[in-house]
């Protein structure tokens, strides 16, 4: 019996890789980065900007692609001080949206994380493994968003197709 799930390959997002001490990042671009989450593997949303705490002194900024130019201007990538790093990585990751009643079942085929709501809550986000690739996993309405390096996207799309048969 097939899984009750819907899989969608999403359009590009505006993505920025942020590294460095929290204070340095907020001092540099406080109007965009004023809600950097403190807890590990947590996400915060404000004004269409999602900030994901993905590692020690490391965050990922995600927003709609239409906001990219504005964000670039506000983050001032080229002139950032040496103690922080802000790199635009919008075209390096491909997002899939897995939604539906059985979304967690399909996710569990490729991902070793416990994705139940009590272990992976609404604001949770983490890099993990997805069909043997490094992947970013976060919740969305009715399911999960999964991002993999764009060169693996066709392969992951094929795996997801096969997994949901």
């Amino acid at each position: 019996m097939p899984y009750d799930v819907s899989i969608e390959r999403l359009q590009l997002f505006s993505l920025f890789d942020l590294k460095g001490p929290r204070q340095g990042l907020t001092d540099w671009a406080g109007d965009v980065l004023n809600h950097l989450p403190k807890a590990p593997n947590q996400l915060s949303r404000e004004d269409g900007v999602e900030l994901c705490h993905t590692g020690a002194n490391r965050w990922l900024l995600r927003a709609e692609i239409g906001m990219e130019t504005d964000l670039e201007a506000k983050l001032r990538l080229e002139t950032a001080p040496p103690e922080i790093s802000i790199v635009k990585i919008s075209d390096t990751m491909t997002f899939f949206r897995v939604t539906g009643e059985d979304a967690i079942q399909v996710m569990s085929i490729g991902c070793p994380l416990d994705l139940h709501a009590d272990a992976f809550a609404a604001q949770a986000v983490s890099f993990t493994e997805f069909f043997n690739c490094r992947a970013l996993v976060l919740r969305c309405r009715g399911g999960f968003d999964v991002a993999v390096e764009q060169s693996f996207a066709d392969m992951i799309a094929d795996y997801l197709d096969r997994a949901t048969i």
Partner: protein
């Protein structure tokens, strides 16, 4: 399969990690030790029957390098890494 405690992410599946090998003793000065001691340092990998200090890289997760003590007889992690900085 091991569950490895990452200081940033918590308990994670071994498949998210890359093995970094056992922690070797400090590199001696080649001109301050005998040839046998130098060859031993270069060629011998710690492989005790019991706890061994190992490096692991959370390559598919947060990217942290961590050090654990793993008992080679039971695969139990007998000493976990400290908190992430």
């Amino acid at each position: 399969m091991l569950n490895i405690p990452c200081p940033f992410c918590g308990q994670r599946n071994e498949s998210e990690f890359a093995y970094g090998g056992p922690v070797k003793p400090d590199r001696p000065q080649p001109d301050k030790v005998s040839n046998d001691q130098w060859v031993d340092y270069l060629t011998q990998v710690p492989n005790p029957l019991g706890p061994v200090e190992e490096r692991w890289w959370h390559v598919k997760g947060c990217g942290t390098w961590l050090t654990i003590w793993r008992d080679t007889r039971t695969h139990d992690i007998v000493e976990e890494p400290g908190d992430a900085g």
